[in-house]
């Protein structure tokens, strides 16, 4: 494992995959298997939605894939790199250079303006963004006239757009989004989701999104269903209705 292999993601084939991934909390009678031997692969350029009821393990899976949490057993690959064996520092650099994040809320640093928030991971790396690409990203999310505003001066939807732009800017191997529209009204939510979908289809970005909302999942081109820490099914090119049907079957 060298730094250079970390810095050169290949944009073809598998962006991330989990192999027999298990995450166990507690032990003995208190043992909870949040992930129970999951194997799943996310192809480059794909927009995947991970769905499932509360406690199904979908957030844990996302955290482990994104290097925010570690598996108990099993492996996570980001490209060809197995991240479970990386040191804390290497993992941080992987997150910075190869992963983008969009969380449900509190996505931004309140003391930085929109532009500074967008370029934050690159600034942390000591890099300057490519100005053309920056324009493209900012333009895509429609923030050109809001760049000097601080988060407190932006609406919830605008804040999430800043978060999406931040995730896109470093052209990461993969973007993880955790209920990115959970705190937004449906119009703002729809906007965010169309930006994300455009990023996948127009810019070739890979996105994995956790959600429990069938409409959100409808923007993806693959829905993976989790229950009790296991994958219980998936739908390619899902529609909200198909997802709702499947969820009813799963008893969620």
């Amino acid at each position: 494992m060298t730094a250079s292999t970390l810095e050169q993601p290949t944009q073809t084939g598998s962006a991330a995959r989990a192999l027999a991934a298990s995450k166990v909390y507690g032990s003995g009678d208190n043992e909870v298997r949040a992930l129970d031997g999951i194997s799943v692969e996310f192809a480059s350029g794909e927009f995947t939605a991970i769905m499932g009821p509360s406690g199904s393990g979908k957030s844990t899976l996302l955290h482990c894939l994104a290097g925010l949490d570690r598996l108990t057993t099993g492996q996570i690959f980001l490209g060809d790199v197995e991240i479970n064996t990386l040191s804390e520092k290497q993992l941080t650099l992987v997150r910075r250079d190869q992963i983008g994040f969009v969380f449900q809320a509190y996505n931004l640093i309140p003391t930085l303006n929109a532009l500074e928030n967008i370029t934050l991971p690159m600034s942390l790396a000591g890099n300057k963004p490519d100005p053309k690409w920056l324009d493209t990203v900012v333009g895509t999310v429609g923030l050109s006239d809001r760049l000097n505003h601080r988060p407190s001066e932006l609406s919830g939807g605008q804040q999430q757009r800043v978060a999406v732009a931040r995730a896109l800017l470093s052209k990461p191997r993969i973007i993880f989004a955790d209920e990115p529209t959970g705190n937004l009204d449906s119009k703002a939510g729809a906007e965010i989701l169309s930006f994300m979908s455009e990023a996948v289809h127009g810019l070739g970005q890979t996105i994995v999104m956790v959600t429990h909302n069938p409409i959100s999942a409808g923007y993806s081109n693959r829905a993976v269903f989790l229950a009790d820490g296991k994958i219980v099914g998936e739908i390619p090119a899902p529609t909200p209705d198909a997802i709702l049907d499947r969820m009813k079957q799963l008893g969620a």
Partner: protein, 852 residues
Amino acid sequence: MWNVTIKRLLAKKVRVLMTGVAVMLGVAFVSGTLVLTDTISRTFDGLFSDIYRNTDAAVREKAAFGANNAFTAGRGRLPASVVGSVERAPGVAAADGTITGIAQIVDKKNKPVGNPAKGAPVLGFNWLPDAQLRTLRLVEGHGPEAAGEIVIDKKSADDTGYKPGATVPVLLKTGRQSFKLTGIVKFGNANSPLGASIVAFTTSEAGRVLGEPGKFDTIDVAAKPGVSQQQLVHNIEQVIKGEDGGKLEVVTGKELTSEYQTGFQQNLKFFNYFLLVFGLVALLVGGFIIFNTFSIIVTQRTREMALLRAIGAGASQVLGSVIFEAVVVGLIASLLGVAGGVVLALGLKALLGVLNFDIPTGGIVLKPRTVGVGFAVGLGFTVVAAVAPAIKASRVPPIAAMREISIDRSGRSLRRTAIGLIVTALGVLALVLGLIGSGGAPLALVGAGAIVIFLGVAILGPLFARPVADVIGTPIAKLRGMTGSLARENAMRSPKRTSATAAALMIGVGLVAFITIAAASIKASIESTVTKGMKADYVIDSGMFRQGGFSPKIESDLQKAPGVTAVSGVRDGQVEIDGSVKRVTAYDTHNIDSLFDIGVTKGNLAALPANGVAVQKDVASDKNWKVGTKLAARFASSGKKTLVVGALYSERYPTGNYLIDTKTYAANFADQFDVQVYVKTSGGANAENRAAIKKVLNTYPGAKLQDRSEFAAAQTAQINPLLSLIYALLALAVIIALFGIANTLGLSIIERTRELGLLRAVGMTRSQMRATVRWESVIIALFGTLLGLLIGLFFGWVMVEALKSQGFSAFSVPVGQLALIVVLGALAGVLAAIVPARRAARLDVLQAITTE
């Protein structure tokens, strides 16, 4: 409500402790000071009881002045003939006249033993014939039996290696003289009393070399069995009535002991106050930290408070719960502080020892008063500091439970500006009034003024915390990239918090800067005065200021040296002039013109008559004295005299406010010592003249020969030990402020958990996280340092301006040293950030981003 508060305290033990540390250190310092001085005081009480254990009564002359302090009382000596009368009084078992003076042993390397200017005195006694009255106990050899024989204390004997039979040179007011050592003594049970050195002579020799022939300082009397001290005193009074011109008085041994004990305690009081000032500074800094911590806690708890209000808690209950928390913090801090004070007393003693202020102590003395004071100040400062935050907490409206807590951008109100300016102005007023000496207690006024200025600037602080943090942070952001910008933004985001945290450091730095500037100005003033008026080529310093000096024989010895054209010794003593005790300096006024120019404005120094005194012109004009004015004076030895003002002069250096001729001094003072000697040579300072003088000084070991520039340097260096002591004591205030910065950063980090988690999630490394906290700390510390520097500069300037007439001629700003303070301030920020930075870096990312 109570159990909510108590549970909260228990849940936040670490924070309670951190908050308390600031107060704890202050309390520890105050109680440590009291413990130290009580301990010293008890040691000396024991010493004096030991000295006068067998003395039932003492006969002496009444004090001419200063009777209220045994150490400074001006008393003459009584005639030896009184002893015979006392012996005849009924109930007297034994009566011996005592003689005490100055005698310095010279060791085998021709070095004088002991350094009386800095520590224990070098004492000479007469060997009392009566073994019962004698405090000296032989451990080897026998007592002095002839004029040429002496005994010395065991410590000096051990240090120098002198054995009975050896020839020991001794420096006396009569000059250097060698004696045969016949014995070695202990003082009571001690090898030497508190490090003093002792030489004892036969009584008649002691009269010649220590006191005055045929005279005694006191007569110590032992009673026959069954005779009370009061009875004895009464009997003696009857017998000696009318002798020595009615100047005699008789006191009991008990009175004598307690006179010295209380006299010593009076002298200790200044030292006590001196140390207590630093304790109060520490507490003031601690108060700022308590205020700030409680303010932050209250802000962080706004939702909790609002929830409590929403479910029915009254405003007074919320207020009470915050005050209660302060009381608990105060109590714990005071308890630990008093305990720490005992440890600190030992540390202070060691510190004083390192800096050459040698203080002997026995076991530690912890009085209930010390505990009481410790708890009172600890609890007092904590609760008072928590009042404002508590009131703020009680005003939280229930609706705040539903609101988001936004970034605090407040702190720029008009009200704040007005109050801050008014408070600062009041402080400046008090400071200036105190410095120009109006009002009843100028020093207290200066102190209060300084404190109020600190408060005023602290109130104004939030107004410029943002812009200043911005300016300080900009180069850091330029150099350090994202970590630097985040640090700058964090330091700017809550001006009140940044300002209050910096204010704690401001106090320490302000005082350090002030002391640095004051010291530089004092040194510059000394240097300019010393070099300005001085014409003498050499100064010979005995290093025994107010503790003896050279035998005046040195003057005639020097006069004989080739190349020497003028010589004057400097003697110094106390006289009561016009009803109050004054310090007078004696010079050879016929020679003084060739040695210094003191700017005579009226009269003629060379023509000063035997009863003449020259007075500094400002002092004279204050009292409306003119040349020819007659002044009532009282000398300890010669009694009432009339002095006539013979000349007025402008310079206070080196002659002080009252100058008399050497002959006048000799006629009115019992003991003649030259503290310094000024020498003028033909051809000025050169190797030849130096060698000639050096040769004379061979018989005066311990004499320091200095040319003009060496003398100026030595004079300015005199303040260095005191300066080091003050710096060391002020370090405490700075250390406490570091705890304050660490505490604020720690609380801010808790508040920013989510944000820090996000930073880590999107790729901030742990070391970048540490750097962000560290730079924020540096910005806060530099803000405090700059405020402190400004205040220090102001204090220094005001002091120099106000004391210009007192000889402050130069306002000197030591740029290099002040720059060093800024660097140290920044380093202090780095130091304070260590623990909070580590905590921020250790944050669990997943937990942080999922915290509610």
